[in-house]
Each structure stands twice: as structure tokens, then as C-alpha cells.
């Protein structure tokens, strides 16, 4: 900027603020990379950093064991954690904005409950999409039901005069409805099917593979640019519904498009790794504290924070109990709850 900085201290302060935010996003990106490397190193047989790096970058020169550990176990799991964390947090950020509710997450609206019901159908009753390979049956079902729940929400959101509170209430109704149906299935389930289902709900990145990673990466590659394009309209929505509409924004359409993006990201995430809580809630919260709600920085910071939290949870899940990999869903909740409570208790104004 060539304007006179002395004449406009506000402009200088604004520029400094922008630099701080870009710095935050850059540091988060660096931390994500560091956590990715750390997750390649840690596990039942730890690898020193250089060893892990060599196995990653120059697999032909690395020891066979290190190569196998990195490429067939740790990298797929780490990438899954990274992508799921980013997807859930990005979905959570958009959802908190369009619902004007800092407590919204893919869980609030019943999307995960619907996905659980889909998974339960596949695991307990063996009902799924015909013609799919066995390892895709559970994710396909979970995705279908999550998408169905979202379609229901979308059809209501599209009606004129429907505000965020109607959506939240409908979401709560969906949570109860799907939870009841899941309970019904569990009640009738066999011992082994029940065990499988309970494990699925705990969330795990252990069942991953390159196919799933590809699907997640593709979904993010399609959705993230669309969220980015809507960044100013989403920020305007934070100024109030009427205000945004007076700027010429079709807020109904904005909500609908955001809901479609949220559905795709959260349904895929839940379908592949189970019901992992709090990343979609905590990621945007931390991002908001760091960079504010200007979505230019809020969206990338949310996605990066989500990825970081999931990677750290993945590392922790192997460290808490020696020799046992805890389900990552349990760890994210155990880590997420204290962070979340600290954030909520810090707030001075109610919700």
C-alpha cells in the first residue's frame, strides 16, 4: 500500500493484523506438516525422524521394514487423519456460520446419527448397496443416510422464511430419531455384530486405504475451492441475515450450497472413520480465536486446525496405552472436551 501510513493509523493497524493472520495460517500449515512427520515416526516400532523421512521421500533407499511401516500403515493412517480433520473442521466452520450458532457441528444436525444408522444397517442387518465390494459397504451406507438427512434439512432450509433456528431444531429431532432407530437395531443385534458396530462408532483410522484417501482428497479438492469462492458472502452472513440480503446476497441459496458442501465432507468423513467428535466443533473455535471470523483466514485456519487436532489425536491414541491403539474417536473427545470447556467458560456473553 502506498497510502500515507502516518495519516491513517487504522490502516497500518489493519495491515499488521493481516500479517499476523497470514502468519497464523502459515504456522498452522507448518505444524500440520510437523505432526504428519511425527505420526510417521511414532507407533509400536518407533522410527527416528531421518529414517521416517527417507522412507517417505526416497523409499528405494530405505530399509524394507521402515518402508513397509511408513507406506502401508502409517502414511495412509496419517493422511486419513489429516484429511478427515480438515474436512470436518471446514464443514464445522461453514455450518457455524450458516446456522449462526457457535455450537453447530456435523453432529448437531443429526448427520453423524444418520451415518451411524446407515452403518448399523450394514453391520447388524447386512443391508447395503448391492454390488459393492465388502469393505465399502459400511461407508456407502453411512454416506447414503448422512446425505439423506442433509437432503431433508436442505428441503426445509429452502423454504422461504426458514431461519437458522428451525434448522437446528429439525437437526435435534433427526438426532433423536436416528439414535432411537440405532438403539432398536442394537437391541436386536447379535453379539458379534454389536461388537463390530460399537467399535465403528468409536472411530478409527485403522480401516483406511489409498482408495478412501483418494475419495476424501477428491472431495476436499472439489469443495474447498467452492467454500473459498463463497468466503465474502459467508463473512457477510455473520453481519446478520437482513444485512447480507441487503447486499444482494441470496442467503437461501448460500445456505443450500453450504449445506451440500457440508454434507459431502462430513458424510464422507463419518463414513470412512466413524463418528469422530469435536473436531468439527473445536477446529473452527480455535481458528476463530486466532484469526477472527473474516472467512479469508477463518476457513483455511479452521481446516488446518482440524487437521492438526486429528493428527495429534492419532499420535496420542498410540501413546496413551503402551502397545494398544485406542480408537481415535475416543481420544479426540477426551482431548476435545477440556479444550471445548475451556473455550466455553472463557466466553463472557452467553451463546
Amino acid at each position: 500500500m502506498t497510502a500515507l501510513p502516518a495519516a491513517a493509523p487504522a490502516l497500518a493497524a489493519h495491515a499488521a493484523q493481516m500479517r499476523w493472520r497470514r502468519g497464523c495460517v502459515a504456522v498452522l500449515a507448518g505444524l500440520v506438516l510437523a505432526a504428519l512427520l511425527a505420526s510417521l515416526m511414532s507407533g509400536p516400532s518407533p522410527l527416528p525422524p531421518l529414517e521416517a523421512l527417507r522412507a517417505l521421500i526416497l523409499p528405494d533407499e530405505a530399509e524394507r521394514v521402515a518402508r513397509v511401516i511408513v507406506w502401508t500403515v502409517r502414511l495412509p493412517q496419517a493422511l486419513t487423519a489429516l484429511l478427515v480433520g480438515a474436512a470436518l473442521a471446514l464443514a464445522g466452520a461453514e455450518m457455524q456460520t450458516i446456522l449462526d450458532n457457535p455450537l453447530a457441528s456435523p453432529f448437531t444436525l443429526g448427520i453423524s446419527s444418520a451415518a451411524s444408522f446407515g452403518a448399523a444397517l450394514a453391520l447388524i442387518l447386512g443391508v447395503s448397496v448391492p454390488g459393492l465390494p465388502a469393505e465399502w459397504l459400511v461407508p456407502a451406507n453411512a454416506f447414503l443416510f448422512a446425505a439423506l438427512a442433509m437432503a431433508l434439512l436442505r428441503s426445509v432450509a429452502g423454504r422461504p422464511g426458514t431461519g437458522p433456528s428451525t434448522l437446528v431444531l429439525l437437526g435435534i429431532a433427526l438426532v433423536f430419531a436416528f439414535n432411537a432407530m440405532v438403539a432398536l437395531l442394537q437391541y436386536t443385534a447379535s453379539q458379534s455384530a454389536l461388537q463390530q458396530f460399537v467399535f465403528w462408532t468409536m472411530g478409527s483410522v485403522g480401516q483406511t486405504g489409498w482408495g478412501r484417501i483418494g475419495v476424501l482428497a477428491l472431495a476436499l479438492a472439489v469443495v474447498a475451492p467452492l467454500s473459498w469462492r463463497a468466503r465474502w458472502m459467508l463473512t457477510a452472513l455473520r453481519l446478520g441475515e437482513d444485512r447480507a440480503r441487503s447486499f444482494g446476497i441470496d442467503t437461501g441459496r448460500l445456505r443450500t450450497m453450504a449445506l451440500i458442501r457440508i454434507t459431502l465432507l462430513s458424510a464422507l468423513s463419518v463414513a470412512f472413520v466413524g463418528t469422530i467428535g469435536f473436531v468439527g466443533l473445536v477446529g473452527p473455535h480455535i481458528a476463530r480465536l486466532l484469526v477472527g471470523e473474516d472467512h479469508v483466514h477463518f476457513l483455511p485456519a479452521s481446516a488446518l486446525t482440524g487437521a492438526l487436532v486429528m493428527l495429534l489425536a492419532a499420535i496420542l491414541s498410540e501413546l496413551i496405552v503402551q502397545g494398544v491403539v485406542l480408537p481415535i474417536g475416543i481420544v479426540t473427545s477426551l482431548v476435545g472436551v477440556p479444550v471445548f470447556l475451556a473455550l466455553v467458560l472463557r466466553r463472557k456473553d452467553g451463546l
Binding site: 500500500m1 497510502a3 491513517a8 487504522a10 490502516l11 493497524a13 489493519h14 493484523q17 465474502w232 458472502m233 463473512t235 457477510a236 455473520r238 453481519l239 446478520g240 437482513d242 444485512r243 447480507a244 440480503r245 441487503s246 447486499f247 444482494g248 446476497i249 441470496d250 476463530r288 477472527g292 471470523e293 473474516d294 456473553d349
Partner: protein, 263 residues
């Protein structure tokens, strides 16, 4: 910039649910550089009317700016011509005042290629609130919040400003500041301002024209002294009112009692 194209409305009808809130309302010509106040009792349809003009409420009829029918314009074109300031709502957004005004510029591009941050800052300077640029929206006082809100409404250089109770919940000093800023802006830039005001004294002090509304229709409209009469006030508000002209030529309303309601 006086002269220019006037704003007028014909046969406005707004239905909210099953209720016809505004039924066949006409608004006389409102000229650039003038402040028109919408006054009337609770439920008269003042806010609904301003929301209809801002195209936030579905509306039938015609609203002309010169020869242009505003209701037939695209949402983007309408948004370029008008600036709307909602009734005071506390925004919990983690945004600074400057960011909010920049967002108003960037939300829907208007083809102006100049730096939005500089434009937003210039708008704040124009309103004399450049000192608030880096303050968080959710930490402003009532009067500051209204000024920040006005900045978001005017930054795109609209030809029409639609303000819904810009002075509600403010103390007299802050009311004066906000209305003074609105008037200065309107006079200097030749903007047509339509302002919902609850306070009769304020409308007498600041408005060039007054539209007195009752039950979704315009009971009277014109110059303040022609509209604000004991008879009209009695009919609209059911009060027994006296009107006095004080030393500086300003009109004052004294409500001495409530009239008995007949059916």
C-alpha cells in the same frame, strides 16, 4: 446534487403470512438530499414498509427511482442502488468495524476496482469514526454500533438509504449524533433517505418530510407541520396532543392524555 431522480411508490401491498400488513400504500415523491421519516403507532407497518423497499419482504406494487422500477431490478442491481440499515441487532461476529465495512464492499462485487480497504476506511473517515476501525463489532457501545451499521449501509455509495429505527435504544446525545450524521450524508451526497422513527420529536427535528402511517396505510404525508397536527396524532396514536412552536422554530409535541377509543 439536488434535483436528480426522485423516489416514489404506488400501490404497495405486503402480505406476511395471511395478513395484509400494507395494503395499497402510495408514497409521495422523496427527493435527493431529503430525509423522509416514517412515523406511526406500533404495528402500523413502518418497518415492514422499509423492509419491502429494501426487498427483504415480498412486495407487490411499484417503486420508482426516476423511471426505474426498483422492484423489477435484479437483486444485485437493487443492492447497488440502496443501502439498508436494520433495526439495532447485536452482532456477535468476531470482526472489526473496518472488516465489516470491507465485507459490505466485497460481498457482491460492484465493479469498482479500487482497494476495498481504502474505500472502507474513507467511509469511516467520512462518518468521523475512523478511530473505531480496529474495534471489534461485539465490543461497541450502542451509539458506536449504530454508526458502524450506518457505515456498512452507505459505503457502496447508494442513491437511497433505508434506515429502520437508527436511533432506537440510544440516549438523546447519541440519537442526535446519529441523525446529524445521516442528515449530513444525505445533504452532501444527494441521497434519498427513508427513516423509520419512533420518536415524534426526532422526526420533527430531522425530517424534511413525514409520512404518518396507520394500519398499513399512509394517513398523511408532507411537510412536518402539515402532517403532525393534533387531529392526525389523535387519530393515529389516540393521544390528546398539543403542538407548540418553540423559540428556534422547532415544533414540539405535548401529549396531555389518551383519547377514549371508539370501536
Amino acid at each position: 446534487m439536488s434535483g436528480g431522480e426522485a423516489l416514489r411508490a404506488e400501490g404497495l401491498r405486503v402480505r406476511l403470512g395471511r395478513r395484509m400488513v400494507i395494503d395499497g400504500l402510495d408514497l409521495p415523491e422523496m427527493r435527493p438530499g431529503e430525509v423522509t421519516a416514517l412515523i406511526g403507532p406500533n404495528g402500523a407497518g413502518k418497518s415492514t414498509l422499509i423492509r419491502a423497499l429494501a426487498r427483504l419482504a415480498p412486495c407487490e406494487g411499484r417503486v420508482f427511482l426516476g423511471d426505474l422500477d426498483l422492484l423489477q431490478q435484479s437483486a444485485a442491481a437493487h443492492a447497488r442502488l440502496t443501502g439498508y440499515m436494520p433495526q439495532a441487532v447485536q452482532s456477535g461476529a468476531a470482526l472489526t468495524v473496518l472488516e465489516a465495512v470491507v465485507t459490505a464492499l466485497r460481498a457482491v462485487p460492484d465493479g469498482d476496482r479500487s482497494d476495498p480497504v481504502m474505500r472502507a476506511h474513507a467511509a469511516l473517515e467520512r462518518l468521523g469514526i475512523a478511530g473505531l476501525a480496529q474495534s471489534r463489532l461485539d465490543r461497541l457501545s450502542g451509539g458506536q454500533r449504530q454508526m458502524a451499521s450506518l457505515a456498512q449501509a452507505m459505503v457502496r455509495g447508494p442513491r437511497i438509504l433505508l434506515l429502520d429505527e437508527p436511533t432506537s435504544a440510544l440516549d438523546p446525545g447519541r440519537q442526535f449524533e446519529v441523525m446529524q450524521a445521516v442528515q449530513a450524508l444525505v445533504r452532501e451526497s444527494g441521497i434519498i433517505a427513508v427513516v423509520v422513527l419512533h420518536d415524534l420529536e426526532l422526526s420533527l427535528r430531522w425530517a424534511d418530510r413525514i409520512v404518518l402511517m396507520q394500519a398499513g396505510a399512509a394517513l398523511a404525508s408532507g411537510a412536518p407541520e402539515d402532517v403532525v397536527t393534533p387531529e392526525a396524532l389523535g387519530q393515529a396514536y389516540g393521544i390528546d396532543a398539543r403542538i407548540e412552536r418553540c423559540s428556534r422554530g422547532l415544533l414540539h409535541v405535548h401529549a396531555d392524555g389518551v383519547l377514549a377509543r371508539h370501536g
